[in-house]
């Protein structure tokens, strides 16, 4: 089974702190994604990456950055955490195929609370 592992299930951080959320996948997937999930808003894409050192902005990149130094690892960085970044953060990965589209595999999520 493909596994996408997020390093923390729950995090509590203070306003202004720099926060790192880590995600690791073990199936050699090219594509990796960070979403945040909020009630009534569904899943919103923050950033994604389709190759090492490549990154693309999603729909809500403001206040976030990402790093992908190795294929299996995709990190989300909150440069200066704010209370409106309190949310569930989901990492996902997928195969890049020119022949057909494939589904995502999600991690279990990190629930971040900024106080």
């Amino acid at each position: 089974d493909v596994k996408v592992t997020q390093s923390s299930r729950y995090l509590v951080k203070r306003t202004g702190e720099k926060v790192f959320l880590e995600c690791v996948q073990d199936m050699d997937h090219e594509n990796m994604f960070w979403y945040r999930q909020d009630p009534g808003l569904g899943l919103r894409l923050i950033y994604f990456s389709y190759d090492v050192k490549m990154k693309e902005k999603g729909d809500i990149p403001e206040g976030y950055s990402v790093s992908r130094e190795k294929k299996e690892r995709f990190s989300l960085i909150l440069e200066s955490a704010s209370t409106n970044q309190t949310s569930m953060y989901l990492c996902a990965s997928s195969i890049q195929s020119d022949r057909e589209t494939r589904g995502y595999t999600f991690g279990s999520g990190t629930r971040l609370t900024v106080v």
């Binding site: 996408v4 594509n31 994604f33 979403y35 009534g40 808003l41 569904g42 899943l43 894409l45 994604f48 990456s49 389709y50 693309e56 999603g58 989901l90 996902a92 997928s94 195969i95 890049q96 195929s97 020119d98 057909e100 589209t101 494939r102 589904g103 995502y104 595999t105 999600f106 991690g107 279990s108 999520g109």
Partner: protein
Amino acid sequence: QQQVKQSPQSLIVQKGGISIINCAYENTAFDYFPWYQQFPGKGPALLIAIRPDVSEKKEGRFTISFNKSAKQFSLHIMDSQPGDSATYFCAATMRNTGNQFYFGTGTSLTVIP
């Protein structure tokens, strides 16, 4: 703007009934339409998916109906069970670099015993 619109936001169904969740999209380039199921405290998991060259796909009690001309697709859960209580997301994507998915806003399904 929302590329995939999902309804209803919440749904309550009696055990044994049929649950129906609807989604609509605008981009005709989309070529893959999955449904994800999410239980509390877990990440979404792929439930069933369809490509636009077929009008229906069935896996056990779960069926996707796809209407290409109307740009709509729906999830039907037959003989709904309390264990089906979860949040369901539809999504759409197209074959391209990055394989970005566009998600609906989710439907919270509660199946009453």
